[in-house]
C-alpha cells in the first residue's frame, strides 16, 4: 500500500446521496477472481451508454473534460452503502482516486478504503456543498489540497476544513502499512486471549 502524505488535485462533485457499491461497480463488471482490472468498470452503469458496452455517456460527470485527472471525489451522505464488495474501492483506486469526501460512508466501505490507501474524509454536509459549489466554478483551477498530517482540506480561496480520523487509520495510511502484518505482531496477545477464553467460553470452541 502506497503511503499517503499531501495531495493537491482536481476534485469531482458527484452530489447524490446513497451512492451504493452496486453503482460504484456493478456486479457484472467483476469478471475475474482478481483485485485488479476493475478501473474500467467504475460507475459503469452511469459512465457508459447502454448496459454492457463502452460507449461514453458524455452527460456523466466523470466524462466531463473539465474534471480530467481528478483524484478527489465529493459526494452526498451514505457513500458506498450496500454490498461489501471491496471491488468498489479497488476500482476507485485503480481509476486514480486518492480521496473521497462525504458527510457519511457505508461502514464496510469505509474500512475497505483504509485497507487500500484510499482516504475517506467525513465533513459536514454544508461544508461538502460549499466546497462543491466552489469547485464547479473552475475545476482545473480550484484544486483541493488534502493534508493528512494536519487532517485538513483546503484550497486557495477556501479556508481549511479540519476532518476527524482515527489515529490508527491515519498511521496506516501515512506509513502504507499492511494491517495484517501489524496484527500478526500481536500473536502473543491473541494466544493469551484464547487461553483465557477456553475457560470462559469452552462451549464456543470447535476443537
Amino acid at each position: 500500500m502506497e503511503p499517503f502524505s499531501t495531495i493537491k488535485a482536481v476534485a469531482i462533485p458527484l452530489m447524490q446521496i446513497n451512492v451504493d457499491t452496486d453503482c460504484i461497480i456493478p456486479s457484472r463488471e467483476m469478471g475475474k477472481v482478481s483485485k485488479t482490472g476493475l478501473g474500467e468498470g467504475l460507475f459503469a452503469g452511469w459512465r457508459y451508454k447502454g448496459t454492457s458496452g463502452r460507449e461514453i455517456n458524455s452527460e456523466f460527470i466523470l466524462n466531463d473534460a473539465k474534471y480530467k485527472q481528478a483524484q478527489i471525489l465529493l459526494s452526498g451522505s451514505n457513500f458506498g452503502c450496500g454490498s461489501s464488495r471491496e471491488h468498489a474501492v479497488w476500482a476507485m483506486v485503480e481509476y486514480g482516486f486518492k480521496v473521497i469526501i462525504a458527510p457519511s460512508f457505508g461502514s464496510i466501505f469505509y474500512n475497505n478504503c483504509i485497507g487500500n490507501g484510499l482516504l475517506p474524509i467525513i465533513l459536514a454536509e454544508k461544508d461538502v456543498i460549499s466546497l462543491a459549489d466552489w469547485i464547479v466554478e473552475d475545476p482545473q483551477k480550484n484544486r483541493l489540497t488534502i493534508n493528512l498530517e494536519k487532517q485538513t482540506v483546503s484550497g486557495p480561496e477556501v479556508m481549511a476544513y479540519y476532518f476527524e480520523l482515527a489515529e490508527q487509520h491515519k498511521n496506516m495510511l501515512q506509513k502504507g502499512y499492511d494491517v495484517i502484518d501489524l496484527t500478526l505482531l500481536r500473536q502473543d496477545e491473541i494466544a493469551a486471549f484464547e487461553n483465557q477464553d477456553m475457560k470462559n467460553r469452552l462451549w464456543a470452541k470447535l476443537i
Binding site: N18, S52, N78, I108, N112, Q168, W203, L206
Partner: protein, 476 residues
C-alpha cells in the same frame, strides 16, 4: 454497577486489545466465505504466504454466482463464473476449511445455512465478506459484513480491528396486524428514518412484536439492518433461539450445551442500560410495505401514493426522489397498485426460508400467475428445498406457474447472467432495489413474499386485501 447493552456485552467479551479512541482488536469466533468475495480472500492469503490460524473456524459455501437451474454444474450463465467456483473449491480444499460444494445437501445461501448448521450461536462473533451477515444477529451473535481484505485479516489472526459503533435500540411495541410481516417492519423503519438512519450504530431490535416473530422472521428483520445503514442488527436470544439451535450439527453438546445455556442467559441488555439513540415504533401502525424508488428507504404502504418530490423539503432527498422516479418510470402521486409487473421473485437471504415459502404457497395454491409475468422461486438452501418438496410446496409453485429452482442467491443481483430484462418491473422478496441490481435498468420493488405472490397472480402490484376483494372472500 455498570448497566450494559447486549451489544456492549458481546463487544467486551471479545476484546483482545484496546487500540485507543474506542477501537479494539476483537476476537472473531467464526468466519464464513462464499465464492464471490471469499475466493479473492483465499487467493490473497496464498499470495502473501499466510496461514489460516484456525481452519476449523472457517466455512465456505457456493451461493452467489452458481446457477440455480436444475442440473447445474460449475458452468455458469454468468460469464467467468466457473473460475470463481473452481478457484474457491481448490483454495478451500487446500486451506482445509469446511466447504459446502454444489450438490452438498447442506449447500445454500451463507446466511441461511449458517443458522441451519448452528455455525452461528448466541454470544459469538462471526464475519463474512458479505454485507448481509447482519442477518445472523437474530441469534444474539455479533455478526457483520466485511471486505475481502478484512476477512483475510480475520482468517490470519482470528481478530479484526474494529471501531466501536454507537448503540441504537429499536423497539417495536404491541402487535402486528394480520398479514403484516417482518419485511414490512424493516421497510417501515427504513422509510421513516432513511437508508442512512443507523449510520454509525449497532442496532438492537426488541419489543413485543419482535419477541412474537419466528426465528426465520427475525432473520428477515436483522437482514436489512445494513440497508438502514447499521453496523449490524441484533436480537437478544430467548427460548425460540435455544429451541432452534438445539441438536443442530454445530450446536454445543453435552456439558458444553449446559455451559452455553448458562452463558446465554446473560445475553440481554440490562434493564437500566442506555442506548445512544432510541426509536419506538407502534407495530399495529405498520402496513404491508413496498419500495417505489432505488434505495430501500424509498418505501410506502402498498395502498399509498408515491410522493410528490416537490413536497419533499430536504434538497438531497428531493433530488434522490426525482432521480429514482425517473429511473422507475413512475409519475409522482401514482398509486403503486396501478402498476403492471413483468417479474416476480421469491428468494434471497432476506425471504427464502420455509415459512416464507409456506405463506406464499398458501396464496398460490389453486391459482395461476398472470400472463406476462415471469415468476421464480429460489429456496434459500438445499435443505429448505427438500423440506418444501416433502410438503408438496414445489408442486403448488410449479402448478401456479412459478419456476422452482435450486438454492442460491440467484436473481437477487445481476452479475451478467440471468436477469428479468431491460427496464422490466419486478416485485421481489429481496433486499436491494438499487439501479440495475436485478438486471440492466430493471425496476425492482421490494416487498414480502406474500406481496410478491399476490402481485404475481394479479399481474400488478397488489396486496392480500386486493386478492381477497377479487375472489370475494376474506379468508386468506
Amino acid at each position: 454497577m455498570v448497566h450494559l447493552t447486549l451489544f456492549e456485552k458481546l463487544w467486551n467479551a471479545h476484546v483482545v486489545a484496546d487500540l485507543g479512541e474506542g477501537a479494539a482488536l476483537l476476537y472473531i469466533d467464526r468466519i464464513f466465505l462464499h465464492e464471490r468475495t471469499g475466493s479473492i480472500a483465499l487467493k490473497g492469503l496464498v499470495e502473501k504466504k499466510r496461514v489460516i490460524r484456525h481452519p476449523e473456524s472457517v466455512f465456505c459455501t457456493i451461493d452467489h454466482i452458481v446457477d440455480t437451474l436444475p442440473g447445474r454444474t460449475d458452468d455458469t450463465l454468468v460469464e467467468g463464473g466457473k473460475a470463481f467456483i473452481q478457484t474457491t473449491r481448490a483454495s478451500a480444499r487446500a486451506a482445509g476449511i469446511t466447504f459446502y460444494d454444489i450438490g452438498d445437501a447442506r449447500q445454500g445461501i451463507v446466511h441461511v445455512i449458517s443458522p441451519e448448521q448452528a455455525i452461528v450461536l448466541p454470544g459469538l462473533t462471526l464475519v463474512c465478506p458479505d454485507s448481509h451477515t447482519c442477518t445472523q444477529g437474530a441469534f444474539g451473535a455479533l455478526a457483520w459484513g466485511v471486505g475481502s481484505t478484512e476477512v483475510e485479516h480475520a482468517m490470519s489472526t482470528n481478530t479484526l480491528r474494529v471501531k466501536k459503533p454507537k448503540t441504537m435500540g429499536v423497539s417495536f411495541n404491541g402487535t402486528l396486524m394480520a398479514g403484516v410481516t417482518a419485511k414490512d417492519m424493516i421497510l417501515h423503519l427504513i422509510a421513516a428514518y432513511t437508508a442512512a438512519g443507523a449510520s454509525g450504530y449497532a442496532v438492537e431490535f426488541y419489543g413485543d412484536a419482535v419477541a412474537d416473530l419466528t426465528m426465520e422472521a427475525r432473520m428477515t428483520l436483522c437482514n436489512m439492518a445494513v440497508e438502514f445503514g447499521a453496523f449490524t442488527g441484533i436480537i437478544a436470544p430467548d427460548d425460540k433461539v435455544i429451541d432452534y439451535i438445539k441438536g443442530r450439527p454445530y450446536a454445543p453438546k453435552g456439558e458444553n450445551w449446559q455451559r452455553a445455556l448458562e452463558y446465554w442467559q446473560n445475553l440481554k441488555s440490562d434493564k437500566k442500560a442506555l442506548f445512544d439513540k432510541k426509536i419506538t415504533i407502534e407495530a399495529s401502525a405498520i402496513k404491508p410495505m413496498i419500495t417505489w424508488g432505488t434505495n430501500p428507504g424509498q418505501a410506502i404502504a402498498i395502498d399509498g401514493q408515491v410522493p410528490f418530490p416537490a413536497q419533499i423539503r430536504d434538497d438531497h432527498q428531493r433530488a434522490a426522489a426525482e432521480k429514482a422516479l425517473a429511473y422507475m418510470d413512475i409519475a409522482p402521486g401514482t398509486y403503486l397498485t396501478e402498476l403492471t409487473i413483468g417479474g416476480a421473485f421469491i428468494g434471497s437471504c432476506t425471504n427464502s426460508r420455509l415459512p416464507d415459502l409456506r405463506k406464499a404457497g398458501k396464496i398460490l395454491k389453486g391459482r395461476k400467475v398472470a400472463k406476462g409475468v415471469r415468476a421464480i422461486c429460489v429456496p434459500g438452501s438445499s435443505q429448505i428445498k427438500r423440506q418444501a418438496e416433502a410438503e408438496g410446496l414445489d408442486k403448488i409453485f410449479i402448478e401456479a406457474g412459478f419456476e422452482w429452482r435450486e438454492s442460491g442467491c440467484s436473481m437477487c443481483f445481476y452479475a451478467g447472467g440471468e436477469s428479468f430484462g431491460f427496464e422490466e418491473r419486478v416485485v421481489t422478496s429481496t433486499n436491494r432495489n438499487f439501479e440495475s441490481r436485478q438486471g440492466p435498468r430493471t425496476r425492482s420493488h421490494l416487498a414480502s413474499p406474500e406481496t410478491v405472490a399476490v402481485s404475481a397472480i394479479m399481474g400488478r402490484i397488489a396486496s392480500l386485501s386486493d386478492l381477497n376483494e377479487e375472489v370475494g372472500n376474506g379468508t386468506l
